[in-house]
Symmetry: C2
Subunit: 301 residues, 2 copies
C-alpha cells in the first residue's frame, strides 16, 4: 500500500516565482489584493515578491510597496527573495518574516543568473544570511537546477550536496530543491532523495517542482514516499517556463492541493477560496492559467 503522510505544508511562491516570469503587467494594488486573498485560503506561507534590482526583474519592482500594503495574517509566514545585502536592507524595512536566498547547483546557470561562479556566490549569501539572522529573520535557501541544467545538462548529485551543505553551514533554516526547468523524473527524484537523506533531515527540505514535462505530480508522489512533507507551488501554474515560453511552469498549487485532498492528505487549504483567488489573478493577467484545475473550471463555466 502507498504510504502517505497525514498532512503536507504547501508554500505559495506564485506572487514571486509566478509573476516574475509573466510578461503581462500586474498593478501593485492587484498584487496586494491577490496576496490578501491568498492569506485567507488557509495557506501558512506566501512568498510575496523579490528584492532583486528592478533592472533584472521589472515585474517585481514594487516589492517594497507590496510588502508594506498587504494585510498581515499572524498565522502566515510572509517571505521575499533577496539577492544581496542591498536587497536585504530594503526587505528588512518592510518587516518581512523570512528571507529567501538563491543560487544554482550548476556553474553555467549560476553564472548566467547571478553573474558569479558558485564559489564566488557563497560569501555574498553569507552576508545576507548573517544580516537576516541579526534582524531576527529566518532564512530559506533555494538551490536551482538540482535535477539538470539547461546549459550544463546533468548535474552530479555530489555537486548538489556540496552546495546544500554550504548553505546549511551558513545558517539557513530550510532548503528548497528546485527542478528549475522541469526535467526531473520520478526515478531521478528517488535517487537524489536517497542520497539527500544521508546528509539532511527531511523536515528541513522542500521540493520545488516545475511541470514542464508533466511529471511534477509523479515527482511529488515519490517525494511523499520518502517522507518529504513540504512542497512549493504557484497558484494556477503561474510562471510559465522561461526556457519554453507558454509551456507549463511551476507545479500548480491548485493541482497539488487537489491531488493531496483526493488522497486524504490534509493541507489546511480551502479549495474553493484557492480557486477564487486563482480566478482573480487569471482575470488580472488577462490570459488562461495552465493548471488542470483552472482548465477544467474555465471549460465548465
Amino acid at each position: 500500500m502507498l504510504q502517505l503522510p497525514e498532512s503536507v505544508t504547501i508554500k505559495e511562491v506564485g506572487p514571486r516565482d509566478g509573476l516574475q516570469n509573466e510578461t503581462n503587467k500586474i498593478a501593485t494594488e492587484d498584487k496586494v489584493a491577490w496576496i490578501d486573498q491568498l492569506s485567507d485560503t488557509g495557506l501558512s506561507y506566501i512568498e510575496i515578491s523579490s528584492f532583486v534590482h528592478p533592472k533584472w526583474i521589472p515585474q517585481l519592482a514594487d516589492a517594497k510597496e507590496v510588502a508594506q500594503a498587504i494585510k498581515r495574517n499572524p498565522g502566515i509566514t510572509y517571505a521575499a527573495l533577496v539577492p544581496n545585502v542591498k536587497g536585504l536592507e530594503r526587505a528588512i524595512e518592510t518587516e518581512i518574516d523570512e528571507v529567501s536566498i538563491f543560487m544554482s547547483s550548476s556553474e553555467t546557470h549560476n553564472k548566467k543568473n547571478i553573474n558569479k561562479t558558485i564559489e564566488e556566490t557563497f560569501p555574498v549569501l553569507q552576508e545576507v544570511v548573517d544580516g537576516a539572522k541579526q534582524a531576527g529573520k529566518t532564512v530559506r535557501g533555494y538551490v536551482s537546477t538540482v535535477f539538470g541544467c539547461p546549459y550544463d545538462g546533468h548535474v552530479p548529485v555530489e555537486q548538489v550536496l556540496r552546495v546544500c551543505d554550504r548553505l546549511f553551514e551558513m545558517g539557513i533554516d530550510e532548503l528548497s530543491l528546485g527542478d528549475t526547468t522541469g526535467v526531473a523524473d520520478p526515478k531521478q527524484v528517488d535517487a537524489v532523495l536517497n542520497k539527500m537523506k544521508q546528509n539532511f533531515s527531511f523536515d528541513q527540505i522542500t521540493m520545488h517542482f516545475h511541470n514542464t514535462r508533466g511529471m511534477a505530480l509523479a515527482n511529488v508522489l515519490v517525494s511523499l514516499q520518502h517522507g518529504i512533507t513540504t512542497f512549493d507551488g504557484a497558484l494556477g501554474g503561474l510562471g510559465g517556463c522561461p526556457y519554453a515560453k507558454g509551456a507549463s511552469g511551476n507545479l500548480a498549487t491548485d493541482d497539488l492541493v487537489h491531488m493531496l485532498h483526493q488522497m486524504g492528505v490534509e493541507t489546511g487549504i480551502h479549495q474553493d477560496k484557492l480557486h477564487e483567488s486563482a480566478a482573480f489573478i487569471q482575470r488580472k493577467l488577462g490570459k488562461e492559467l495552465p493548471s488542470h484545475q483552472m482548465q477544467v473550471m474555465n471549460r465548465s463555466s
Copy 2:
C-alpha cells in the same frame, strides 16, 4: 528504491479515442497517412478507428476506408472498436487484427453511452466476442468509469470487478481499465489494483488514464509499482475531455514515452518519429495539441 519494469508496452488509441472527441474534421487520407506514420514509430499496437454507427460518431464514419487503406506492418496489431455484431461484420471485412468491445462499470454512464443497462449489455457483447473469436480475432475489453462516474460519482470496486469478471468469462483476451473522466488519484489506483490482483493476472490488464486533473503520470507510476506493464495513450494528448471541452484528455503517449525513457524503461518507440507524427496530426487538426512534449516543442521551434 523505486521498482520499475525493464520495458512497457504502449497501445496507441489516438486515431480512435483521440479523434472521436475532436470536432475538427480530418480527411480520410490524412488519417491513413498519420496511421502509416505511427506504424513506423516502433509502436506495436494501434487502435485505428471505431465501427460504431456514424450517427453516433461521425468523426469516425470512414472506419472501413481507413482500415482498408493503411499499410499493414506485420509486427503491429491493428485494432478497432466494435459495439455490436453489425459493427463486427464491417470490421471483419477489413481484416482488422483485434476487436475492442466496451462498456461502463457505472449504470448511468453505460445507459447514456450504450442505451442499455449493464445487465442488458452483456449478451450484446457476448455475440461480438463469439463472432470475433470465430473469425480468429483477439478481443480487448474496455471498462469505463472504473475510478468514478460523471453521473453516479463513486463506483464501488466490487462493481468494477463484477463487470471485469463477466468480460473475462465471455472470452476477452485483455482488459483496459478506463479512468474515463480523469478523476483517479494515485491512492485510489493503488487501492483498486490491490483488489484487482486478487482476481486477475496483470499481464491481461492495461491501464487507460486521462490527464484531466494532471494526475495521469502519477497514476502510471503507482501502476508500474504494482507490476502493470501495459498502458493506453493518445499521441499529443488528443481527445480532450468530453466533460470539460478543451481540458486535457487522454494521457499523451509522447509524455508517457518521455517519462518512461527518462527512467530507463524501454518502450521500443522512437521518440523523434513519434514527435514528427504528433506534429503531422497537429497541423491537420489546425490546433495545438495539449501534451507537454508538444507544448515544449511548439514553444521552442
